[in-house]
Symmetry: C2
Subunit: 189 residues, 2 copies
């Protein structure tokens, strides 16, 4: 599992080329700077990866589309089979083929410091996939819930303070809060 | 079932007083104008209703709290047992006692005209409760999905154009899209 931070697209390509055996999943992040200044190199990197994580504003910028649905389809045509759009405190969208999954962020009492939330999400997401060894769309949904749970701890304290003293029980309890937040029973006749 | 639009709190009180038998559920909407100009009368009306629908900005204004969690708890202490906070294109939160439920809005391709989306939501929500005759928290979750589905049609065309020629099949299909958007299987060990 390879997760590339929002480095220069050239450096991202170089890192990918260092692997003798292709990783099971290559995920990458990017940002407005590379979208504006290295669009061609960025598109080359996009054609080499399986998954892109990007925020809503960057997705609109990269695709030149305001509608996130339309932007998502354009971006997936550039290469990544999976696309995660981060809407900050409004949660995450996961796109794959014609499917969409939405996971909200928890409505937290206080956000002490949002620094690092995106990277903590990526770490929790990739960690869950690596631990379960399953990169199906259904398992990615679960990975997004775990990533969101990890990110929700990150913002409760300054820097890595909260993440450093985190127990497995606390994580599972937080994941259950996400389940409770969105679950409803509805059987369509 | 009584649904009060965001009229003057005095008029809302008068309407409630006209009922010889109390409706099974009294829901109300309000807006910043009444929060600013008639806070005491508004609080009196709030003490007489079961449910308040309000948008996020108004909830913060009414409670004097930025955190929606904290704002929700303050508002519920003013009277309504149920509180729905409308986050516009970011969906709805339903609060009841210590429970929270979140329903996203569908990521639509185009929003043609958002006028009337809030009222269409309220109509779909109350209509579902009235049809099923069940005002439990669990059924309110389903009612929010139906209200959201109705509102998603409203914004596709100008005015009431889309809602006027809507079939039951289309509604059920749209509800299924909401189910697919958020459902994931996860059993915690």
């Amino acid at each position: 599992y390879l997760v590339l931070g929002s480095l220069s697209p050239l450096l991202q390509q170089k890192i990918i080329s260092l692997f003798k055996k292709r990783p099971l999943l290559i995920a990458m992040d990017t940002q407005n700077y590379w979208i504006s200044h290295m669009p061609d190199e960025l598109k080359k990197t996009l054609s080499m990866v399986d998954l892109l994580t990007i925020n809503d504003e960057e997705a609109r910028h990269l695709a030149g589309e305001f509608s996130l649905q339309k932007a998502a389809r354009k971006i997936m045509r550039m290469g990544p089979a999976f696309l995660i759009i981060n809407k900050g405190k409004h949660g995450h969208l996961l796109f794959y083929k014609k499917k969409v999954f939405f996971a909200p962020a928890l409505p937290l009492e206080e956000i002490f410091d949002p620094t690092g939330a995106g990277d903590t999400f990526a770490g929790g997401f990739a960690g869950y996939l690596a631990k379960t060894g399953d990169i199906s769309f259904d398992n990615m949904k679960r990975a997004i819930i775990f990533g969101s749970a990890m990110a929700s701890f990150c913002v409760e304290k300054f820097g890595t303070e909260r993440i450093q003293r985190l127990s497995q029980d606390e994580i599972m309890q937080r994941v259950q809060e996400f389940v409770d937040l969105v679950q409803f029973d509805y059987i369509l006749d």
